[in-house]
C-alpha cells in the first residue's frame, strides 16, 4: 500500500523527519506513537502534501506510484485521507456541500459520473449513522461551532463518505471522552477491509484497546526507532518514553 524509505523533511530550514522508514500493507492497521514534537503530525502532513515542508531525501511509494510527485488533491483522489489533528473550520460552507464537492471531484478524477442527489443523501444517512453524527451537523457549516469531539467525529464521517485506500488518523482520540472514543473506534473498525489500510497516530494506548493494531511503531526524533505489536504500546504506557530515549542515545 505505502512504502516510506529514508524520508527526510524539514520546515523553515529545520529538519524534522530524519530518515524515516515505514511499510504498511493492505488490510493492516499500524499505530504510530511517540512523544510530543517527535514529528508525527509532520509525517502526516508530508504524506498529505502540505507545501511548507521541504523533502530533502527519500521516497514514498503509494500503490506503485511516486506519491511525492502527486499534487495534494491527486493524493486525496488516489485514496489517501488525513483525519486532521485540528480540523479546519470553513464558515458558510455546509458540510454537505463540502462533501459532495469532494466526492464529485474524486469521481471526476476517476472518470466516474457525478453522484446523484438521491444516492448522495442515502450515503450521508448511512455513514452519519455509523459514527452517530447528529444529522443536523451534516447541514451546518464545516466544523464551525462544532465541539472538539464533534469535529473529530466529523473527520471519521468524512472518511466513511470518501472510502479511502489509506487513512491516516492524527490523534483523533485526543480530547474525546470514552463514549466518543468508542464510537470513533467502532467507525474505523467497521470500515476496515483487506483492501484498505489505516495509520493511527496516537499519544495514548487507550485507543488501541478499541482499534487493535497489527503493528505499533515508536516515532522519536524524526525516525521510527522501535516497532512491535500491541504489547509495545502497553509497555510504553507503563514506562513512558524515557527508556526509548535512553535506548536511542545508547546507540
Amino acid at each position: 500500500m505505502i512504502k516510506i524509505s529514508n524520508l527526510h523533511a524539514s520546515i523553515n530550514g529545520k529538519e524534522i523527519l530524519k530518515g524515516l522508514n515505514l511499510e504498511v500493507k493492505a488490510g493492516e492497521i499500524h499505530a504510530i506513537m511517540g512523544p510530543n514534537g517527535a514529528g508525527k503530525s509532520t509525517l502526516a502532513s508530508v504524506l498529505a502534501g502540505r507545501e511548507e515542508y521541504e523533502i530533502t531525501e527519500g521516497s514514498v511509494d503509494f500503490d506503485g506510484q511516486d506519491l511525492l510527485e502527486l499534487s495534494t488533491e491527486d493524493r486525496a483522489r488516489e485514496g489517501l485521507f488525513l483525519a486532521f489533528q485540528y480540523p479546519i473550520e470553513i464558515p458558510g460552507v455546509s458540510n454537505i456541500n463540502f462533501l459532495r464537492t469532494s466526492l464529485n471531484e474524486i469521481r471526476d478524477y476517476k472518470g466516474e459520473e457525478q453522484i446523484s442527489a438521491k444516492d448522495f443523501l442515502a450515503k450521508v444517512k448511512e455513514k452519519s449513522a455509523l459514527v452517530e453524527l447528529d444529522s443536523k451537523l451534516a447541514s451546518r457549516s464545516v466544523n464551525e461551532g462544532f465541539s472538539g469531539g464533534e469535529k473529530k467525529r466529523n473527520e471519521i464521517f468524512q472518511m466513511a463518505m470518501l472510502e479511502p485506500k489509506l487513512a491516516i488518523l492524527d490523534e483523533t482520540d485526543s480530547g474525546l471522552d470514552i463514549d466518543a472514543l468508542r464510537i470513533v473506534a467502532n467507525g474505523v473498525n467497521k470500515l476496515k477491509s483487506d483492501k484498505n489500510a489505516t495509520i493511527v497516530i496516537t499519544h495514548y494506548q487507550r485507543l488501541l484497546d478499541y482499534i487493535i493494531p497489527d503493528f505499533v511503531h515508536v516515532l522519536y526524533d524524526g525516525r521510527i526507532v522501535k516497532s512491535g505489536t500491541k504489547e509495545l504500546a502497553l509497555e510504553l504506557e507503563e514506562k513512558g518514553y524515557d527508556w526509548i530515549k535512553a535506548e536511542v542515545e545508547a546507540h
Binding site: 495534494t72 486525496a76 486532521f84 463540502f98 471531484e105 457549516s141
Partner: protein
C-alpha cells in the same frame, strides 16, 4: 503540486476578463465633448418635452459650478469631459416586438452574456429590458405586466408615455445638485429604466435589466426610477457586463427608488464592468448614485455583487423617512489586480422605530484596494431607531488593501447601534483542508469565498445567485495549469 499563497496571488493577477468582446453595430453618435448644444442635441434626439430639457440645462449649470470629489479612497486620472461622447445609439430605429425580431448580432451578444433566446424562453417569470449602449432595444413580458397595471419600460419611453409620473418623481430622491456625478447624469442621461407598481400590486416576476457599454469612449449615463405605490412589492434585478477596452470609460448612473406606505422594493445588482487589464490599463470608472426613500412601514433592500470596474464609487442608500420603515444593504465587493472600490451605504433614520441592516463583504486580491464607507445617521426624532452593521474583509494577497470607514452620527439617545468588523486572510489551512479532500485549488477558493459571502448571496433571487456565484468564481479564477 499544490500552491503557496504567493503563487496563488500571482495566478489571481493573471486572470483575463471573461466577457471581453465587442459587438459591431453602427452607432448614431454625438460629437465628443460637453456643452449646452450637446445637451440640446440629446434632448432633441429623444424628442423630449420642454420641461425635461430645462431640467437638463439647470443640472448642467449646477454641474459647472461643482468640482469632482476626491474624498474617496481611490486614485485615478480624472476623465476629460471634452473627450467623451455623450450620446450614441444603435442604428435601428424600430423597436422589437418580440425576441425573434432582434438583430442576430445582438442575439450573439446576448448569448455571450448568458441570456440567450433559448434561456430567456425557459426563464419565464423574468422580464428583460435589454439596454445596449444608451437605447433600450428590446422589452418582453410587457403584456403580462400591463394586465396588472405595472409599467416597466425604458426611461425614454416613460418620458413619452407617462410624463406626469416621471416629472412628479424624478430628482425627488437624488436632487440634481446632490453631487458632481449626479448633476452630470441629470444633464446628459441618455436612457435607463422606469418602473411603476400600482397600489396593492405584488409584481409576480423579477424585473430584470441588462446594461451594457458597447461603443469605445462612450460615456454612459443611465437613469433608473422605480416607484412602488402604497402596499405594492417589486423585486428588481440589474446586471451588467462590458466588452474589453483600452481607454477608460465613464459610467455615472443615478438610481432612485421610491417606496410609498407599506411598499417594498428589493433591488439587486450584479456589476461586472470591464476592470482593466492586469497592469491596470483601461477599465470602467463607475461613479454611481443610488438612493431610495421609504415612507411609513415601507422597506427597501439593496443587494449588490460588485466584481468589475477599474474604479468604483457607489453607496446605495436609504432614507428612512416614514415611521417603522426598514432599510437593508447587502454587499459583496471583489477587487483584483489594480481595481479600486470605495463602496458602502448611508442609512438615514428620520422616522420612529426605523431599522437598518448593513452586511458588507469585501474581497481583495492582487494589488487592489477595497474600502467600505458607511454612514448611519440617526436624527433627533428617530426614536427607537436600530442599526446593525457587519463589515468583513477578506484578503487574498499580501499586496492588496482593505479599509473600513464607518461613520455614525446619532442625535437620539434611544437608538441602538451595533457595529462589527473583521479582517481575515484566506486561510492556507482552509485551502489545504479542501485539497486534502480532493478539491482542486480554484474550486476550493470559490467554495471558501462563496461561504464567506453566503449571507449576501442568500438575498439574491435564485437564478441571479447562481450567476453571481459564477461571476465570483471567474473574478478570482487563476490560470492554474
Amino acid at each position: 503540486m499544490g500552491y503557496t499563497e504567493n503563487e496563488l496571488a500571482k495566478d489571481l493577477e493573471n486572470q483575463e476578463y471573461k466577457f471581453g468582446f465587442v459587438t459591431d453595430i453602427e452607432s448614431d453618435k454625438a460629437p465628443n465633448g460637453l456643452n449646452e448644444d450637446i445637451i440640446r442635441f440629446i434632448s432633441a434626439k429623444k424628442n423630449e418635452p420642454e420641461w425635461l430639457l430645462d431640467h437638463r440645462l439647470k443640472a448642467f449649470a449646477t454641474w459647472k459650478t461643482m468640482t469632482e470629489p476626491s474624498w474617496a479612497h481611490v486614485h485615478y486620472t480624472k476623465p476629460n469631459m471634452q473627450e467623451i461622447c455623450f450620446y450614441s445609439a444603435p442604428k435601428q430605429t424600430k423597436k422589437y416586438e418580440s425576441w425573434d425580431d432582434v438583430d442576430p448580432e445582438m442575439k450573439e451578444t446576448m448569448k455571450k452574456l448568458g441570456i440567450s433566446m433559448e434561456e430567456q424562453k425557459r426563464l419565464t417569470g423574468v422580464a428583460v429590458d435589454f439596454v445596449m449602449d444608451s437605447v433600450s432595444v428590446a422589452t418582453s413580458f410587457k403584456s403580462k405586466l400591463n394586465e396588472l397595471g405595472i409599467i416597466f419600460c425604458s426611461f425614454s419611453e416613460a418620458v413619452q408615455e407617462h410624463p406626469e409620473l416621471v416629472r412628479k418623481h424624478m430628482g425627488t430622491v437624488v436632487p440634481t445638485s446632490d453631487n458632481y456625478y449626479a448633476a452630470l447624469n441629470s444633464a446628459v442621461f441618455t436612457d435607463g429604466s422606469f418602473c411603476y407598481i400600482p397600489k396593492g400590486v405584488r409584481c409576480p416576476m423579477e424585473l430584470s435589466t441588462y446594461f451594457r457599454i458597447n461603443e469605445g469612449g462612450t460615456g454612459q449615463f443611465e437613469r433608473t426610477l422605480v416607484v412602488a405605490d402604497e402596499g405594492s412589492y417589486v423585486s428588481y434585478l440589474e446586471g451588467c457586463t462590458a466588452p474589453q477596452r483600452d481607454e477608460n470609460q465613464l459610467h455615472a448612473a443615478v438610481v432612485e427608488l421610491i417606496a410609498l406606505e407599506n411598499a417594498e422594493i428589493k433591488y439587486s445588482t450584479v456589476q461586472n464592468w470591464y476592470p482593466g487589464n492586469k497592469e491596470g490599463i483601461g477599465g470602467i470608472f463607475n461613479f454611481v448614485t443610488k438612493r431610495g426613500i421609504c415612507e411609513r412601514n415601507a422597506k427597501i433592500s439593496w443587494t449588490q455583487v460588485e466584481t468589475g470596474s477599474a474604479v468604483t464609487w457607489k453607496y446605495p442608500s436609504c432614507i428612512l423617512k416614514g415611521d417603522n420603515s426598514v432599510g437593508e444593504f447587502y454587499s459583496v465587493a471583489v477587487t483584483n489586480n489594480y481595481q479600486q472600490a470605495d463602496t458602502g451605504t448611508k442609512m438615514i433614520h428620520l422616522g420612529k422605530n426605523t431599522k437598518s441592516t448593513i452586511i458588507s463583504k469585501g474581497i481583495s486580491a492582487g494589488k487592489s484596494q477595497n474600502s467600505y464607507r458607511g454612514l448611519v445617521q440617526i436624527h433627533k426624532n428617530a426614536t427607537n431607531a436600530r442599526n446593525f452593521s457587519q463589515c468583513d474583509s477578506l484578503l487574498m494577497s499580501d499586496e492588496c488593501g482593505a479599509h473600513t470607514f464607518p461613520y455614525i452620527e446619532c442625535k437620539n439617545s434611544s437608538a441602538k447601534i451595533e457595529h462589527e468588523a473583521t479582517t481575515s486572510k484566506i486561510g492556507e489551512d482552509q485551502i489545504f483542508y479542501c485539497q486534502q479532500r480532493g478539491i482542486h485549488i480554484e474550486k476550493a477558493i470559490s467554495l471558501i469565498v462563496n461561504g464567506y459571502c453566503k449571507e449576501v448571496l442568500n438575498q439574491l433571487p435564485m437564478e441571479f445567485a447562481v450567476e453571481a456565484q459564477k461571476l465570483l468564481e471567474i473574478s478570482l479564477e487563476g490560470s492554474v495549469g
